[in-house]
Symmetry: C2
């Protein structure tokens, strides 16, 4: 009895693997500022629990495999507002964006196939690709360029013979990089020329700053046949634990493949779908307030980080992450130092070392991912702790 | 752009594929008795929604990838009562038994590998096996034998060179067949001799009748290293829409593979887990009442079916399904007749044709699966409609 080859290739989550050490630090009395996980502290709109509390069925029954019609209709209305015309058959509700990604990869990849993706990339993409027998073919970007990748030459260079799809998270995790509609066209044109699927993970869609316009691959009907959009209520409505996402595509053959697998797993949670449908009734002021909050958090932590000598980070345009280059050789070693040897007045800080977000070996070792999901005063203090930690770490190394 | 090979091999759910025709019949004014889907009409214990209504977090946040500790502890206590000693590390909470099965197959199968399983089998096993690049190697059983399969000779005969696991649903879907602890030993001994995993789907565990003892593969510690148990609250507590299940195993390597994938998809629904933990607080009278209800339903429909000439069905010992051989050549054709041409006082009946539950081509075409999830008077009427339908169908064929 052996585990499958795909599982043997997988790593434990690099975002979660330092958790036991952080817990030990906390148990030893240290306060740890967590910049390591994308769990927002913004309150979930009350509409979610209100709808669930009002739901009084005698039996918590299976729903339709494609999703509760009331949720599908809420999603149709939502996308209508950004100019995408959808019907129920174009939407399959999934258990979070995570299940949407897994099903999409299972639907498009054979053993040995690859998905192109800008690195650093959200590490679970590699897990989902491996589950489907595939892997990620990285498009290598750089901190100095703000992790831009929508450049034809760069894309051509990164294409492999086994590439079946190009995946984009926009606004991006872990870099915060945002694609414009023009960038999306560059990517779609490249995909068309090489007969690739375009997998667009747009779960942070509303989180774009500095006057950038909300953009979606669904706003490009001329490429609709190859575009697969993954969406979720997790980040938009600060409802990560609800596990409600969806796959959206106008490609009927693609959706019929997804539906076969969706029927296999029967349905997503009935109650969470009831709550999720209600989330889409919040008015536009909600989106505006959340956007402003994240934007000012980004400004706060970016400004504080820029004061630290040797730090490289082009201010990102969206999401609530930034990838930051530190003046260290090995960010994992620095994080271990912060958690086990360092404190300032009993406080320290935690982030996700970025090397786990790279497919190319031995790059990104001096980078970290920060999720700015804390209040501004905490973000300031967290950045300060990184600065103080760097000084102490350098002093230790110099010994 | 092509869909993956695995998806091209999949079928739409044979349980759900006649739904549009049934809906058309209903829209045309016919009443349809649904025996086709395993959605119980038993009320979900109030504890589920009560716990959810009392849950008042400000943020619906991600939970642990392995499950909420309070739910893991409720599961540990539940299994303790049937003599299985578990720890949290032995349990990973999943999004229904469905996700548990998919992750288990992804964890054990490589491309071309097979899972042995008695046919007729729960058709979604084939979907999950295909998702993992594998397939089901059928152990062919017969209606006349009550679909028994725990016989060493039969198992040896069905073994293929690529078999990596033997999967058992007990009590069974779609046959209602129940394994005794002795049967389980036969299966485990066979698995040991051929170095196979034993995947035991025990989601109907409490539903055993006629004095049969509740049995679990977890009661055989001598085989613990190869036993993987899939469990769920769906059927036990009539909470199918909650999508909460789990994988249980003492094999640490196996569980670490599952955990890598569980971290990839982050967590199962937080709210449903809160409700599920509360379900495990119902007292023993709940299990007894539900068991008695299903047992008397089984007796009711079995007795009524036995009055129909030519019907073969050995009374099954558990779950809430039975597979029934009808005196027709093609049960799908008969079902189409029932839905589109037949009625008795404006009423007709629907079941799942069993051919979709077989991997071997061209067998089981005269069999159907019945789920006895209706009230007794409805079950009697449904059986009567099958009898009347058969007469009318024969008369039509004779023309």
């Amino acid at each position: 009895m052996e585990l499958s080859k795909r599982v043997q290739k997988m790593q434990f989550s690099p975002i979660r693997k330092f958790n036991p050490i952080a817990i030990a630090a906390q148990e030893a009395g240290k306060k740890v500022y967590h910049l390591n996980i994308g769990q927002p502290d913004i309150e979930t709109p009350a509409a979610f629990m209100d709808a669930i509390r009002a739901y009084q069925p005698k039996v918590i029954a299976y729903g339709e495999s494609g999703g509760l019609p009331e949720l599908q209709d809420a999603i149709i209305k939502y996308f209508g507002k950004i100019g995408a015309e959808l019907e129920r058959k174009d939407i399959i509700v999934t258990t979070g964006g995570s299940e949407a990604l897994l099903l999409a990869f299972l639907n498009m990849l054979n053993d040995g196939d690859q998905v192109m993706m800008a690195e650093p990339f959200y590490t679970n993409y590699n897990t989902f690709a491996l589950e489907a027998g595939g892997s990620v073919a990285p498009i290598t970007t750089s901190a100095e360029d703000g992790y831009e990748y929508a450049k034809r030459e760069l894309l051509e260079k990164s294409l492999t013979p086994n590439t079946k799809a190009i995946a984009c998270i926009t606004p991006g995790n872990p870099t915060g990089n945002v694609l414009t509609l023009e960038d999306m066209k560059v990517i779609c044109e490249f995909a068309k020329d090489h007969d690739l699927w375009v997998l667009a993970d747009e779960v942070y869609r509303e989180f774009v700053y500095d006057g950038r316009k909300l953009a979606s691959f669904l706003q490009l009907p001329e490429y609709a046949d190859r575009v697969i959009v993954v969406d979720s209520v997790s980040k938009r409505f600060s409802a990560c634990g609800a596990r409600i996402g969806c796959i959206v595509s106008k490609n009927e053959e693609f959706m019929s493949g997804i539906m076969k697998m969706a029927q296999g797993r029967l349905c997503s949670s009935t109650i969470d779908q009831v709550g999720a449908a209600a989330l889409y009734t919040v008015d536009d002021s909600y989106y505006k307030a959340v956007n402003e909050e994240y934007c000012s958090r980004r400004d706060t932590i970016h400004e504080a980080l820029m004061k630290i000598p040797g730090v490289v980070c082009k201010k990102p345009g969206g999401a609530f992450y930034m990838t930051v280059k530190l003046p260290v050789e090995d960010a994992e070693d620095f994080l271990m130092f912060l958690l086990t040897e360092f404190d300032d007045n009993g406080e320290t800080v935690m982030f996700a070392p970025a090397s786990g977000f790279y497919a190319t070996p031995n790059i990104g070792k001096d980078e970290i991912r920060i999720a700015y999901i804390l209040k501004k005063e905490d973000l300031k203090r967290a950045a300060e702790l990184i600065g103080l930690g760097l000084e102490a770490y350098k002093a230790k190394k110099a010994k």
